[in-house]
Amino acid sequence: MRTSQRSNTLLGLATVAVLLISGSTAVFAGAPVPILPEAVKSAVEGERSCVRPAQEMRRSHMDDLKHQRDDTVHEGVRTKRFALKECIDCHVTNDANGEKVSIKSREHFCNACHSYTGVTLDCWDCHASQPGGGQ
């Protein structure tokens, strides 16, 4: 009984130590989050807004884009609202030298979150990831 109590205490202390060590590496640094650039223009004139509310864009932009792809490729219907080119024109990112960054950089609007969550994309195998063309 005695030994098992002592080993339980030890185990408890070890757990607390592990938790503290795993946390202490960045206790004061805080959780890393993706850094997103501000959009350079607005979808609605005079308002700071995207084509849909931000909360919805965060959750289901991929569905809009896929739907747009099917409309365009299968039906031949080309609309501007959910066009990839429009996304890129607003959400352009400039690096420290004022140069536009490509999808390869983690500063890129899309890549900031996509690399954060481990979601890979094949949009940019064909499409340009910067306004005016260019990878």
Binding site: G23, V27, A29, R58, R59, S115
Partner: protein
């Protein structure tokens, strides 16, 4: 931090401590439990390396189940391998930057969830449809399957039906790991259900039949070397009695 986030943060801190301490205590107990007899299931390996290979084959392929019942093996193995891939896919929420191999298995983990849920459904059907098994099934056997199925289905709902804000979720989780409580948990219903069920699973894991996961490594019929003739098997407590008799 919203009220809901505080509630879930406390829930997960408590669940993690209970899981780690509970599992640690159980493993310590298993390690101390005497195995007085030499009882490997024959034919058994005659070397320690052989035993390592034997245990590994059992853990990865469920060899004994495969030999005894093919259809139960299909469902059981589908569920466990599916669960393994799905869990590995979840590492993206706890690592920053995400490890390359975790990025590479993302699509596989996604479809492994179908195997996982199909396996669970098969195992549950077994409990209900096979009369002999239904007779020996306790409520906890059914509830455990329901819990795992609930976790699987709510998770698949978020992947395939109603997406959630996974960036905020990751910020919240990384925050919990670094004691930075400035990020709120997204309050989508599916996510809250999923996380609640996972916390329940973590809490009951160390007092449930799911302990077969660490337990399989301590099974004396599996982990003993067939060397009874070369080396006398003597449990420590029996050695004491032996020494006393020799006096």
């Amino acid at each position: 931090m919203s009220f809901l986030s505080i509630l879930y943060a406390l829930l997960f801190y408590a669940a993690t401590i209970l899981l780690v301490v509970g599992l640690g205590r159980k493993i310590a107990q298993y390690a101390r439990t005497p195995a007085p007899l030499k009882i490997p299931t024959m034919p058994a390996p005659t070397t320690q390396t052989g035993v390592v290979i034997r245990v590994a084959t059992e853990v990865v392929f469920f060899r004994q189940l495969f030999k005894s019942n093919k259809w139960i093996w299909v469902f059981g193995w589908m569920f466990h391998m599916g669960l393994f891939l799905v869990l590995a896919r979840h590492l993206r929420y706890f690592t920053e930057p995400v490890w390359t191999w975790v990025v590479l298995i993302q699509p596989f983990g996604k479809y492994a969830s179908f195997a996982m849920v199909a396996g669970l459904a098969g195992l549950w059907a077994r409990r209900i449809l096979v009369e002999r098994i239904r007779y020996i099934s306790a409520p906890s056997d059914h509830l455990m399957l329901a819990l795992l199925l609930g976790i699987g289905l709510s998770g698949m709902g978020m992947t395939f039906v109603a997406h959630i804000d996974i960036v905020s979720l990751k910020a919240f989780l990384l925050g919990l790991m670094r004691f930075d409580w400035s990020h709120s948990l997204p309050s989508d219903a599916l996510l809250l259900i999923h996380l609640l069920l996972v916390a329940i699973l973590m809490i009951i894991f160390p007092i449930s039949k799911l302990l077969h996961a660490p337990g399989v490594f301590f099974s004396p019929t599996l982990n003993q070397v067939d060397n009874a003739r070369e080396k006398r098997h003597l449990a420590p407590w029996a050695a004491e009695l032996d020494a006393k008799r020799a006096e």
